[in-house]
Symmetry: C2
Subunit: 352 residues, 2 copies
């Protein structure tokens, strides 16, 4: 359980992604009905559109999007390094061009905190440098040390008692670098720690291995957040390696693209096999899509290009993720997390 100004978050928890201040296609009430407590919004995207000052004028993220539960914002670092066109990076700041209109922008640790304070999130993230996969060790070390330097500056800039701030561990899939990064952040005594720079193309096994090197270094009594991850399997494996928080676009993005997660494994909703199928998508699921509509209708919506298809499958996938996390929480309390993992993987048709 993690406590925020907008209520408690039972952990482990999965945060749906509301990049631009909306979980795509889902109303706040529908989002609540999936079982979600805390959500994530993206600082980089919101800073470009509508702008942090506009969000502040509209009452902050909670009021603007009418989400009364906890909200976490990232620092914008990951998007600057993945979406934008980088112009210059040094210890002071990163200079980049907007992926929307090409305008020249700067992001520093202080600026990242300032923006997140304007957005009004319950939990902010430190600005980190996210080097691409396969970065040589010497360059990786520079990124890790710069992330530590920036974390200290974010901590200094942080002056809101109602907003938490998490440090981010970097270091790719290198054990020495992960330990170096985590160890250096510990004296800053953040309310929580994130593991960044994973799920960027490395094999799942290597990601799990990296977690085994990283989470033991981080304080057990504080939330440990695996950023941008992942598949249902990733969530099971992450929790068993000490992760408390996840976020990922996968349930909504896959849902919009007609791919449903179910208690019997993934289902491609456009397949002809569903055309005349009166049965529900997942009889084990309590969501709107599964309790009120047939597979045949869901398929029709996607084939016909109707908005209701993406809406219903996003709702379903978000419900699937929340149901999985609830199962995990119950299994942990019962001391049966490992058995829960095994039974879930078997039900999904995955090798255990």
């Amino acid at each position: 359980m993690w406590h925020t100004p907008h209520g408690p978050v039972p952990t482990p928890a999965f945060m749906p992604v509301g990049t631009l201040g909306t979980v795509k296609g889902i109303t706040p009430d529908q989002l609540r009905s999936t079982g979600a407590t805390q959500i994530l919004a993206n600082t980089y995207h919101l800073a470009l559109r509508p702008g942090a000052d506009v969000v502040a004028e509209l009452g902050g993220l909670h009021r603007m999007m009418d989400w009364q539960g906890p909200i976490l914002t990232d620092s914008g670092g990951f998007q600057v390094f993945s979406l934008a066109k980088l112009t210059k990076i040094d210890d002071r700041q990163v200079v980049f061009r907007s992926h929307i209109d090409g305008s020249l922008l700067e992001l520093s640790p202080e600026k990242a905190i300032e923006i997140q304070q304007k957005l009004g999130a319950d939990c902010m993230m430190c600005l980190d440098e996210c080097p691409p996969a396969e970065t040589p060790i010497e360059r990786l070390k520079l990124a890790v040390d710069r992330t530590t330097l920036w974390a200290a500056r974010c901590r200094d800039a942080w002056n809101s008692s109602s907003q938490a701030l998490f440090g981010i561990v970097q270091g790719a899939t290198n054990r020495e670098m992960r330990e170096r990064s985590a160890t250096a952040l510990l004296p800053l005594d953040f309310p929580g720690y994130a593991v960044g720079g994973l799920s960027v193309g490395e094999a799942p096994a290597l990601m799990y291995q990296t977690l085994e090197w990283t989470t033991p270094v981080l304080p057990k009594e504080k939330p440990r957040y695996l950023m941008g991850v992942g598949t249902p399997t990733d969530l099971l494996e992450g929790v068993l390696r000490g992760i408390d928080l996840f976020d990922c676009v996968m349930p909504t993005r896959n849902g919009r693209n007609a791919m449903a997660f179910t208690s019997r494994g993934p289902v491609k909703m456009r397949n002809l096999i569903h055309q005349k199928d009166l049965s529900p998508l997942d009889p084990a699921c309590s969501c709107l899509a599964c309790t009120r509509f047939s597979r045949g209708y869901l398929r029709h919506l996607f084939i016909a290009g109707e908005m209701l298809g993406p809406i219903l499958l996003s709702l379903h996938n978000l419900t699937f993720y929340q149901t999985l996390l609830r199962g995990l929480r119950e299994a942990i309390i019962a001391g049966k997390a490992q058995e829960f993992r095994t039974s879930q993987l078997a039900a999904w048709g995955e090798s255990v």
Copy 2:
């Protein structure tokens, strides 16, 4: 009040359009929350995708789309004459090419009824010939007489006691043709009559004039339905000329395109003026968009291309239409329909 197997419809009523078995972007519960009782679905579109047999296999329209209120289907005629590429038309049938894949298809009066019986609508429409605007009188007369011939054949083919069947008056904006069409249909004693072939480009005043020529010929005790109409003003003017039922894509289509109808006239939601506006879209409206979000947020959703914008504005516009019709029903009962029209037009900033 009009009674159907799926419940009563207080009239005058506006039917939201669920072309492909879904009102675009809106769940059935949300649709109900707007105040809608009866909806419309398009036979032409459903016959192409997913096909009438598939709809029947999926339990018929009501079960497939989970709409437990009344549903009216059109005959497909209007779409065949407007969307498809016509190949051949004679008294027997119309041959056309699908606008989806170009496949060659036929539609006859008997076929139109057969499809609509498979769809399972509460109310079916006769197949009619819809000539383009500005059709010469001799050609128009042929279309009117063919529509009468087809209406008789539809009536003969109609063998479902749980489904109503409406005849359609054609005749463009020609008084003689409208009277000829309406008079010829009366002996067929349909449960209701529609006025088709309007709102196809003619001036509103000419449409209202045509209604004044047409509705007096139709039985007052049966529903009179103005097909594919229209603006809020059209609804006021139509009701005052004896119309009981309307359908139109305008509230949803305009909503998807950021145009909102409000109690103070239309609002273009993308305009910069709304950027930092904390006030609701329409303080007089009880919909989700107006009670939970600001104009600034709604604008942001459209500027950022977020699905929630079209969803919320569709919901709002549908609510606006239903609220308008409820106001009209109350005004009619109070004997103040004309005053209601005048006050509404003034509030919307239109000339009275």
